[in-house]
């Protein structure tokens, strides 16, 4: 369980995250949605201790994020940021292997190697495992970073806009992969998403932010609803039920 209590982060007088409190239960896939500048990515960075908060507290399974040692937390929670431009020239396998760093500190054991191979196979990059990252396509590189997070094998996995710059096919594959992390491995997956229909179709829960504050939270069937979407995004839209899914049409 991730408990976020009164978390605030300001730049000057501008509060990017403004006294946000929420509880993300263990298990399942939670999407965080909201317009640009709502504070979604900032909140994710704070939860994963990449960014310090000005006020408040984040507790993950009883561990206070700002007080827990970095390597202890690294075995509980991992995050994939949206901008993964790395200077170091590494092969896919090397990159994924560094997901084991919290456990092995760079000296891989047989268990680590097993994790590495399983993670690479899971994202379907076996044929590319000895390629350097700068020799891959955007979609393949994205999958390599997901494999690294997978290899870190934490209970909580956070993804900051993982669908950015992916085409339709790769976006769908990535979402299915994240869905399987929750279903097959009982991971708690938290994803910042821009595409409302992906959030609608793949989430167990949706959290909506606006202006640095928590706006709404709930199951997709409650959240994907014209008046709420209007309140979150300032956009008129229609919601269509297709089978069990609710699709949002905001093109008219």
């Amino acid at each position: 369980m991730i408990e976020i209590r009164d978390v605030t982060k300001s730049y000057g007088s501008n509060a990017v995250v403004d006294r946000v409190s929420m509880t993300l239960p263990a298990g399942g896939l939670t999407s965080i949605i909201g317009p640009n500048g709502a504070g979604k990515s900032t909140l994710l960075s704070i939860v994963s201790r990449l960014m310090p908060m000005d006020e408040g507290q984040v507790v993950i399974d009883g561990l206070d994020v700002s007080r827990t040692a970095g390597d202890v937390l690294a075995r509980r929670l991992s995050i994939m940021r949206q901008d993964n431009h790395i200077t170091a020239r590494l092969s896919v396998r090397d990159l994924v292997a560094f997901g084991r760093y919290p456990y092995s500190k760079g000296r891989l054991t047989a268990v680590d190697v097993e994790h590495i191979e399983r993670s690479i196979a899971y994202v379907g990059l076996q044929a590319f495992e000895h390629r350097f990252l700068d020799e891959l396509s955007g979609g393949q590189r994205q999958r390599a970073f997901i494999a690294m997070v997978l290899c870190q094998d934490t209970d909580y996995m956070l993804f900051d806009e993982p669908l950015n710059n992916l085409d339709m096919k790769h976006a769908v594959e990535t979402m299915k992969l994240l869905r399987r992390l929750a279903d097959d491995f009982a991971k708690t997956v938290v994803v910042v998403l821009h595409d409302i229909n992906f959030a609608s179709a793949y989430s167990d829960r949706i959290v909506a932010m606006r202006g640095g504050k928590l706006a709404f939270e709930g199951a997709p069937k409650d959240m994907i609803e014209p008046s709420r979407l209007q309140a979150i995004f300032d956009v008129d839209c229609r919601v269509h039920a297709v089978g069990e899914k609710r699709l949002v049409n905001y093109f008219e």
């Binding site: 970095g70 020239r89 560094f98 919290p102 870190q152």
Partner: protein, 316 residues
């Protein structure tokens, strides 16, 4: 490991050539009055060892700097490190000339540390839109520090000592005057043991923190290694520019950046390149010498330009 198996015999061969190259004749003395042996033990072997130690240390220091700054074009001579070390040496010569060389070197290591930390701090302050901005900032910072050093040296009539630190020259290396360079080897070994951490740092602060690395601690360790290596080299034989830039870049292109695997190869290649440049400098205008810093400067700037121009192709 295969490239390393090729590199080691090449380096041994270069080392033998280095011992056999010079103005003094070995042929006359080896069996007779022992002057040949004296030459070998007092001058040729120390010079060869000094070359290999400095080459190893600078190549590894360059690699670590590139990981810390997350930029391919950074090394001690393009980040203000070498210039800061020279300033430290100058200050000790003026204010505490009686200090032993090791103590002077320690002061130089501290100023090198301060200069490099300042460089990293500046990098954090300015928005970097281009990879090339980073070495430009470093070279400008080095220029400013160097100007201060020159001004002070001029006032105290120490321009000549300064020249010795800035431009690498191994012709004066004798037994008893290069041994501080072994510190560079110790530092290289420390870098090897902690190599995985520097690879993680090269993946960026966020990924480093995500896998639980204490970012500031590793940066401090890296800065410490870089500063001390640079200070030992500056204090004993003078700075060899570009070495820390060429070697890591070439090795990175060939075998990548997983330092646990590549650092031995980087160290070996650094030793080999300095040996080769020094031999060239000793041969082309024999019986005179061209300092290794000059030879490396010529070769290095050509390779540097090549790397700059081919960068776009690799960035995709």
């Amino acid at each position: 490991m295969k490239p390393l198996l090729i590199a080691i015999p090449v380096i041994l061969l270069l080392a033998v050539i280095s011992v056999l190259t010079g103005v003094g004749s070995l042929a006359s003395g080896l069996g007779g009055d022992g002057r040949g042996w004296l030459l070998i033990v007092e001058s040729r072997v120390p010079r060869t060892l000094a070359l290999m130690l400095a080459g190893t240390g600078l190549a590894v220091a360059g690699t670590i700097m590139q990981m810390l700054a997350r930029n391919r074009f950074v090394e001690p001579s393009t980040a203000g490190t070498a210039e800061s070390a020279a300033l430290g040496m100058l200050l000790t010569m003026i204010f505490a000339p009686a200090l032993p060389v090791a103590a002077k070197m320690a002061v130089a290591a501290l100023t090198a540390l301060a200069g490099t930390a300042l460089f990293l701090k500046i990098l954090r302050q300015i928005p970097l839109r281009s990879v090339l901005m980073v070495p430009l900032v470093g070279i400008m910072l080095g220029g400013v520090i160097s100007a201060i050093t020159t001004f002070v040296a001029y006032r105290y009539d120490m321009m000549q000592s300064m020249g010795a630190w800035i431009s690498g020259d191994f012709s004066g290396v004798l037994r008893g005057r290069y041994e501080l360079l072994w510190i560079a080897l110790v530092l290289t070994l420390i870098a090897y043991v902690t190599a995985a951490r520097f690879t993680v740092i090269g993946m960026g602060e966020e990924i480093a923190r995500n896998v639980g690395l204490d970012y500031n601690k590793v940066v401090t360790l890296g800065l410490g290694i870089v500063s001390m290596v640079t200070a030992t080299v500056v204090a004993t034989v003078g700075m060899v520019p570009f070495l820390g830039l060429i070697v890591p870049n070439v090795i990175s292109l060939v075998v990548g950046d997983n330092l646990r695997r590549t650092l031995p190869l980087i160290a070996a290649t650094g030793a080999g390149l300095v040996l080769a440049c020094d031999i060239v400098g000793r041969v082309i205008i024999a019986p005179y010498e061209i300092p290794v810093g000059t030879v490396m400067g010529v070769i290095g700037s050509v390779v540097f330009l090549y790397l700059l121009l081919s960068r776009r192709a690799h960035a995709g």
